[in-house]
């Protein structure tokens, strides 16, 4: 049973969305959150893997204050969206289109999009697949460049891969019974902090009250427990980067150089040869993967400047 109480965790500058609504995408219910005037021109934001829309509670209101209707959706299995049967890159792309289609009477003209981490890479693929739907694109530390595998000899790699594979298959076997471990707000914040050591404890505590639900035995992240960090597959990071040079709309790429567990270690030299004509690259030496959470005002200022007058 979920305990329905309003936790008194606040964070400076964090604002709940002005509107919450639901979009059904290919049979899956997605939670959509909006900040700003409903009649203002829309900008659509995509969050990263293992995040959720409300991680934009500080950043989105800043864009809304610049005159935009800011629209964020919880990706399937994340936040308040439905836990789906299956998950893939393809389904996230289709869900992005469903959210675009929900912005007004069909067909909706091209809109600016912003994506962080995996959400950034999804938006790059959206812009490459459906260029007529995307007016401008902001990518916040969302361009992977290399495998996260250390450089090890082949026979050792086979063993490592075997362990990873067996672990994943074991997890799938337990799939119907796995649940996330409950805890107090502090415990969940502390666990998340191990993955995000650069983020303020008060922010992580705030995130728990948005991204977790309060069951009788404690707080649990809402994300579908079948999802795991890491994993494997034929996909290669350089394939995402390969989409970049061909983009036809203006691009702003923002990267943070401080290394961390969830980051993608992308350096300016990885990006520069792949930027489409006229693209802007903004490098934050003093921020990690979550640039817009560490330095929301500076990133919002850059994004508002790049987007221009709301139109």
């Amino acid at each position: 049973m979920t305990i329905d109480d309003a936790p008194a965790v606040t964070y400076p500058g964090a604002h709940a969305p002005a509107r919450d609504r639901t979009v059904v995408s290919h049979g899956v219910r997605l939670a959509v959150h909006e900040w700003g005037d409903e009649a203002a021109p829309p900008v659509v934001l995509a969050h990263g893997g293992f995040d959720f829309g409300r991680t934009y509670d500080v950043f989105a209101p800043m864009l809304a204050a610049g005159g935009w209707r800011v629209v964020v959706w919880d990706q399937r299995g994340h936040g308040d969206s439905q836990h789906a049967h299956l998950y893939s890159w393809e389904t996230d792309l289709r869900d992005a289109v469903s959210v675009l289609n929900s912005l007004g009477p069909h067909p909706v003209g091209p809109v600016p999009v912003v994506g962080h981490s995996k959400g950034g890479a999804v938006m790059v693929q959206l812009a490459g697949s459906l260029p007529h739907r995307v007016r401008r694109i902001v990518n916040i530390d969302g361009l992977p460049t290399r495998r996260n595998w250390p450089d090890v000899p082949d026979h050792q790699r086979t063993k490592m891969f075997a362990g990873e594979l067996a672990g994943w298959l074991d997890h799938r076997r337990r799939g119907h019974e796995v649940v996330r471990r409950p805890g107090t707000i502090d415990e969940l914040a502390e666990r998340r902090g191990r993955m995000n050591p650069r983020l303020a404890p008060e922010w992580l505590r705030y995130l728990v009250t948005m991204g977790a639900r309060h069951d009788e035995d404690g707080w649990r992240w809402k994300i579908d427990p079948i999802m795991r960090l890491g994993g494997f597959g034929p996909w290669r990071p350089e394939w995402a980067m390969a989409r970049l040079p061909g983009l036809s709309m203006p691009l702003l790429a923002v990267i943070g150089l401080q290394p961390e567990a969830m980051g993608w270690t992308t350096q300016p030299d990885d990006l520069l040869p792949n930027l489409p004509p006229g693209a802007r690259l903004e490098v934050f030496e003093d921020a990690g993967h979550f640039v817009h959470i560490e330095q929301p005002a500076r990133v919002a200022e850059l994004v508002l400047d790049f987007l221009g007058e709301p139109a």
């Binding site: 290919h26 899956v28 299956l86 893939s88 289109v97 026979h155 594979l165 076997r173």
Partner: protein, 216 residues
């Protein structure tokens, strides 16, 4: 029915072992868009042990999920759910099922006693690297099985040769078998041509391969 997360998988018992029931099971995996056969196919007829056939997610009597999200790796986990029920088995796959047989041979080398890759729908896959990206503009009307999302997503799944050979190498090194994977298909897409060159992989007819694996 076996549970794989939110999906129910239909595992069909096609027949008992030839001499009264026992022996190692053979697991049949169908091709893309197909379903499990109702009777044992001719080239599997001499298998001495019991014969089982699995309907993959979105196919046959298994659950059709909402809105797609398929991958060959997910189907490998389908096959693993069947192995959790059957124990050690030899795996025979047609087309897409053949690719899945290779993956599970690498993923569970201690349980798969030989994998046979045969011709069938979905053998080729979507090439060695991603093609021009395509996003479905409107939802499919699902009248399946087979699920149209499965047909779309599993006909364009990327199969780099060095990815496929990782599974072959793993099956060969960790299974302890001299031959871990048999390539019986006439068609040899790039991933399969690479797999066929690996140590521990041999090209032979499906009948010969099953005779070989029945003897280990």
């Amino acid at each position: 029915m076996l549970g794989h997360n939110k999906v129910d998988l239909a595992l069909h018992h096609l027949r008992d072992g030839l001499d009264g029931g026992g022996g190692r099971p053979l697991l049949h995996l169908h091709g893309l868009g197909e379903r499990s056969p109702e009777v044992v196919p001719a080239r599997l007829a001499h298998w001495p042990g019991p014969v089982w056939a699995l309907d993959l997610t979105g196919h046959g009597a298994s659950t059709v999920p909402a809105g797609g999200g398929y991958s060959a790796e997910l189907l490998m986990a389908d096959a693993d759910i069947a192995l959790a029920s059957l124990g050690e088995a030899t795996v025979y796959g047609r087309g897409l099922g053949g690719y899945v047989a290779l993956l599970i041979a690498g993923g569970r080398p201690e349980l798969v006693r030989g994998a046979v890759i045969d011709d069938g729908p979905g053998l080729i896959g979507g090439g060695t690297e991603p093609g021009t990206p395509f996003v479905l503009p409107e939802p499919f009307t699902v009248t399946g099985p087979p699920d149209p999302y499965a047909l779309l997503e599993l006909s364009s799944d990327v199969r780099p040769p060095d990815y496929a050979t990782t599974f072959a190498r793993q099956a060969a090194t960790l299974s302890g078998l001299d031959v871990a994977v048999a390539v019986a298909s006439v068609n040899r897409p790039v991933w399969l041509a690479a797999v066929a060159q690996e140590p521990g992989v041999r090209s032979m007819s499906a009948v010969d391969a099953l005779a070989l694996f029945a003897a280990v």
